[in-house]
């Protein structure tokens, strides 16, 4: 990766940080969900640039796509706030979230001055040429088994949590 490539990555990382800040500090929850999707999309581009295409595809389809659907559906199922409540909440939120940019600048300044020596030996690149599908199915089958169990548990959890109330409960 040349210096030019690193500068492109840096520009993408800056855009990612702006999207993340917008996600956290924005007033509307819907805009926050969209901001999260934008952050995911930029991370996808970075993953492609870092030679991880399969993870990038997963990030784009699952994190930027499915997760946004989950968030938007959750937000739409909750009651929208009245105008007066929005004004009160945003005033209160500005007080609490106003410190975040300052904190980020402070952390950035501290990190700029922290010097970490490059004395970490790179481990031998064992399995560098192995295909990701081979790693997933042959080398880490237990991970796949765990993923299947987690997906089933998640599906059951969503069914239980999102189910409609019975008529007599209303």
């Amino acid at each position: 990766m040349t210096i030019n490539h690193i500068s492109i990555d840096t520009a993408l990382l800056v855009v990612m940080m702006i999207a993340a800040l917008w996600t956290v500090m924005g007033r509307s929850l819907l805009k926050a969900a969209i901001g999260l999707a934008v952050t995911s999309a930029i991370i996808t581009i970075l993953m492609f640039r870092l030679d991880s295409p399969l993870a990038a595809v997963f990030e784009l389809s699952v994190c930027a796509g499915l997760m946004t659907v989950v968030f938007v559906s959750t937000i739409s199922l909750t009651r929208p706030l009245a105008h007066k409540e929005i004004v009160e909440l945003s005033r209160e939120r500005h007080k609490r979230f106003g410190y975040l940019p300052l904190l980020l600048i402070l952390v950035a300044v501290v990190l700029t001055f922290v010097k970490i020596r490059n004395n970490i030996a790179a481990p031998p690149a064992v399995g560098a040429s192995i295909d990701v599908r081979q790693v997933m199915w042959n080398m880490r089958p237990l991970d796949m088994f765990g993923q299947i169990i987690i997906i089933i548990i998640g599906a059951l959890g969503v069914v239980v949590l999102f189910e409609e109330r019975k008529k007599d409960e209303w």
Binding site: F71, T74, Q147, L161, F162
Partner: protein, 106 residues
């Protein structure tokens, strides 16, 4: 680690720390349950990016991609279940304020 890889790692590491701070701050400060989940997701994203960068600089992309796919699956299940819990809380308390949960028994 070669100088070029080190530079890539440091550049990404810098922004990954900032992204983590962003997510952690959101998680600590917000009182809205959905926004708390969004903060958690930002933290997940920072971890995902860190794993990918480590895979790139060490030359083990295949292994780190497999781990990242596992992380993404866990991330989406956590988001879906937490969203469902937030919805249940909303139906119970008629709001998404985390402070309302203090009033629950148990």
């Amino acid at each position: 680690m070669s100088g070029e890889n080190w530079q890539v790692f440091m550049t990404f590491g810098f922004f990954i720390i900032l992204l983590s701070v962003c997510g952690l701050y959101c998680l600590l400060v917000t009182r809205n349950l959905i926004r708390a989940i969004i903060g958690l997701e930002l933290l997940f994203k920072a971890v995902t990016l860190l794993i990918i960068v480590v895979g790139y600089v060490t030359g083990r992309n295949a292994l780190t991609q497999a781990i990242v796919i596992t992380v993404i699956v866990i991330e989406v299940v956590v988001a879906a279940v937490a969203g469902g819990i937030a919805l249940r809380v909303f139906r119970h308390t008629n709001g998404l304020d985390a402070r309302e949960l203090k009033k629950l028994r148990g």
